[in-house]
Amino acid sequence: MLGQLASPPKFHAVASWLWVWLLLAGVLLLGFGLYTGLFLAPVDGQQGEVYRAIYVHVPAAWMSMFLYLVACGYAMLNWVYRSDVSAVMMRALLPTGAWMTALALITGALWGKPTWGAYWVWDARMTSELLLLFIYLGLIALGQLATDPAKADRVLAVGLLIGAVNIPLIYLSVVFWNTLHQGYSVSLGGSRIHPDIAMGMWLSVLGFWLICASTVLNRARRLLVQRRWR
């Protein structure tokens, strides 16, 4: 089944209806997550109401890293198979990843002002996330430089894999350095967030994930048409 999706006509056919359903499910889940988070979740004892920024800041920050890792997966597939589908997926993920990174930085800055007293500090987590934004923007530009699409795909794949060094750096920055940004609240071992607060956050994360997946698929199918049938 997954192997069949490497065929451009099959991928195009699936992506053409899947993106609509993902969008509908994503909007519903995000709406429900925001309603739960903003109106039903209790007030935080330390931060008061402002902690509710997590319902958009955390999903955006996770998406910024997750989309990069998925793009790296497609970069490796493209390096091995040189398929059009892996190339367009790799390219389609980058703008959405850049948007999510910018959103994580801006919502983080807005949240930082009432919590830390400053919109920006050169903290390891924030600086490495800013570096991720520059990497995304650089890769988007790099993908458009070469006139030969196949050559551009190879250069982009190498660039993506080199830039991947920054992802563990972002994730582990709160462990390696003494940062102003808080440490892990959620890890593989479990969550330290109260379930009443976490519920809305998980719904928002799922909503963001589905909306981003829908946008990426819509962009990828259009890039595929431009590449193969124009």
Binding site: H12, S16, L23, L30, L34, L38, G48, E49, V50, R52, A53, Y55, V56, H57, A60, A92, P95, T96, W99, M100, A102, L103, I106, T107, L110, W111, K113, P114, F208, I211, C212, S214, T215, V216, N218, R219, R221, R222, L223, L224, V225, Q226, R227, W229, R230
Partner: protein, 57 residues
């Protein structure tokens, strides 16, 4: 500029929704739709046929 807690939260939510919508709109500009392309090629072949007929007359 200082915002109170709820203002901060609502600005973050509004920004997020705007970014998701903008990204979705820009995705439509990434390339043509296959049906648009098919319609365009049908139209251009119809125009070509009409041109041929016109020159034959």
């Amino acid at each position: 500029m200082n915002f109170d807690a709820w203002q901060t939260v609502w600005i973050c939510v509004a920004l997020s929704v705007s970014v998701l919508v903008l990204d979705g709109v820009f995705a439509f500009r990434a390339g043509p739709d296959k049906t648009e392309l098919a319609r365009k090629s049908q139209r251009s072949s119809r125009m070509a046929r009409m041109g041929k007929k016109g020159s034959a007359q």
